[in-house]
């Protein structure tokens, strides 16, 4: 398939050794495509975050591989993986992980600064992304002054600022009220997703299922099925 974004093959991750050894993810294989919004759902502890971390170059699997453009990212060196994360992946963490001692716009600029863009230039670009998520007026405030939904949008702006083609959201609506959560995912689907991007969302939240293109189920570390949603 020409628009293949990620192909995970036989991903396995366990923690602990001996009696304490527990499998977080077992032999997981799946594909994600550009232009699609893929959901991963499953009960707590089923291995969703672990799986996301392995495909985004944050957590090294015990076995299996993650093919992106015919290259296994886990065969790269540490620096190359860091570059891969910086250039290809936009990760929106469950509790945002914004920097309280930086302004909102500086938070958004971080990936650009890591990409060695000039400071002023990166702030300018970051402001553009804040505009996309409708928060340009909050640019100079520290993130703690923002509401939960606004912080979520700042995190999204930061994730897309480096222009990644694979976006990963871990429980984006968990700490938002239903309405705000829906609005954000709706916004992501309408304004962030395009045919050159692949977005993977982990969620429990059935109120946002309607936006999914495909929904993948996980249970006890295993992928138990994928269903396609009709538009």
């Amino acid at each position: 398939m020409a628009n293949l974004a990620v192909r995970a093959q036989g991903l396995t991750k366990w923690f602990g050794e001996g009696d304490a050894k527990t499998f977080a993810v077992r032999d997981a294989s799946f594909e994600a495509h550009f232009g699609e919004l893929l959901y991963i759902v499953g009960p707590s502890g089923s291995g969703k975050t672990t799986l996301l971390s392995m495909i985004s170059g944050i957590l090294r699997p015990n076995s299996g591989n993650v093919m992106i453009e015919d290259k296994d990212i886990w065969s790269l060196s540490d620096d190359e993986i860091a570059d891969f994360r910086l250039n290809r992946i936009g990760f929106v963490f469950q509790d945002y992980h914004l920097f309280p001692r930086l302004t909102t716009v500086e938070n958004v600029a971080i990936p650009l600064i890591l990409k060695k863009m000039d400071w002023n230039e990166s702030l300018k670009v970051a402001l553009g992304y804040l505009e996309i998520v409708g928060l340009e007026e909050r640019a100079q405030l520290p993130p703690v002054k923002l509401s939960g939904g606004e912080q979520q949008r700042v995190a999204i702006a930061r994730a897309i600022a480096s222009h990644p083609d694979i976006l990963i959201f871990d429980e984006p609506t968990a700490s938002l009220d239903g309405d705000t959560g829906r609005k954000i995912v709706e916004f992501v689907k309408k304004d962030i997703l395009n045919e050159k991007r692949c977005i993977i969302i982990v969620t429990h939240d059935i109120r946002i299922f309607e936006f999914a293109d495909r929904i993948m189920n996980m249970e006890d570390g295993k992928i138990t099925g994928v269903e396609k949603r009709e538009p």
């Binding site: 975050t49 672990t50 944050i58 250039n87 992946i89 992980h97 930086l102 890591l114 060695k116």
Partner: protein, 378 residues
Amino acid sequence: MTGILKIALKLLVNDKSKFSALLVGITFAVFLMVMMTSMFSGILTRASATVLNIGAKVWVMDPAVNNVASSIPMPDYVLDAVRSINGVKYAVPLYSGGALVKLRSGSYQFVTVMGLDDSTLFGRPELLAGKIEDIFAENAFVVVQDAEFAKLENPIIGTEFEINDHRGVVVGLAKVNTSGLFGVPTLYTTFSRAITYIPSTRFTAAYILIEPKGSGDLSYIKRQVQKLGYEALTKDEFIQKISNFYKYNTGLGINVLLMTIISFIVGLSISGQTFYTFILENLEKFGALKAIGAKGRELITMILFQATFTALTAYGLGVGLATTLIVVARLRLPDYAAQITYGNLGLAFVMVLIIAGVSSYIGIRKVIRIEPFDIFRS
């Protein structure tokens, strides 16, 4: 400044309470270190005041002499023998002794008397008032206008006093570079008057001052003097000898060393601790940076920068504080002996760098080990 350094700086400086705790800790340590070592070098310089003020290149003395004030007079034949050494351009005796002066008010004051060679006046001070030839006049003395001057009731030219039951008269006021350590005023007169006015031992020359023909002659002169059973030291060697005496034989050095080490340890523990807490609290942020794509190297750079920035700022503050205090103290106490040297500053700087190094090492170890995954799983 590159972007990540700017971020590092903002993370540090915007955390006002930690940053100020760090600054206070290191500033205090630097301040103490600079103060202690400055006091010490001030004392050492004072202890060598006579050597500096007389300015002779080579000093001959009894090998047992270890500070200027406690000189051991040498017999006259030594002077003749020294004069006949090849490479000696000229050699003159220097008298150095103590006497009791009775001032006009009737009170007594102990003074140091330096007797300069009658024919050359070698080692004479620069005069602020009066003419140096007047030193040959009857009962003539030159008073040094240093921090102790007031103890002689601020004499002027013509002021009379009694010295060991002899009449004395002030014919000049002299300026010297360095005040002495012992808080005693200094008078200059001629060698011959000094030995007649002040009861002396059979031997009279405390030191023999040599002007060598060239610096190449030094080692030969030294060897010849040694054969006589005496010691010839260059000005710097003599100062060093005096310093060593105060450093190693008086307990002063050990105490200063201890105080310096303690300030260092206090500074190191306060700032090491605070920096470690700072890193711990920001661990999550460093993990986030790592997850976004910062390389280990970049995180290390950030931490090193934060530690160095704090250390240097505190160094500046500490040195500034010490300097201010010393300047103010000097204004109020002319005798205050502290002296900031490049050596003191360098020592404090090295210690501050060690503090920064240790603190960042602790931080770096922690940050390098974080797995971003552990942070996000929450």
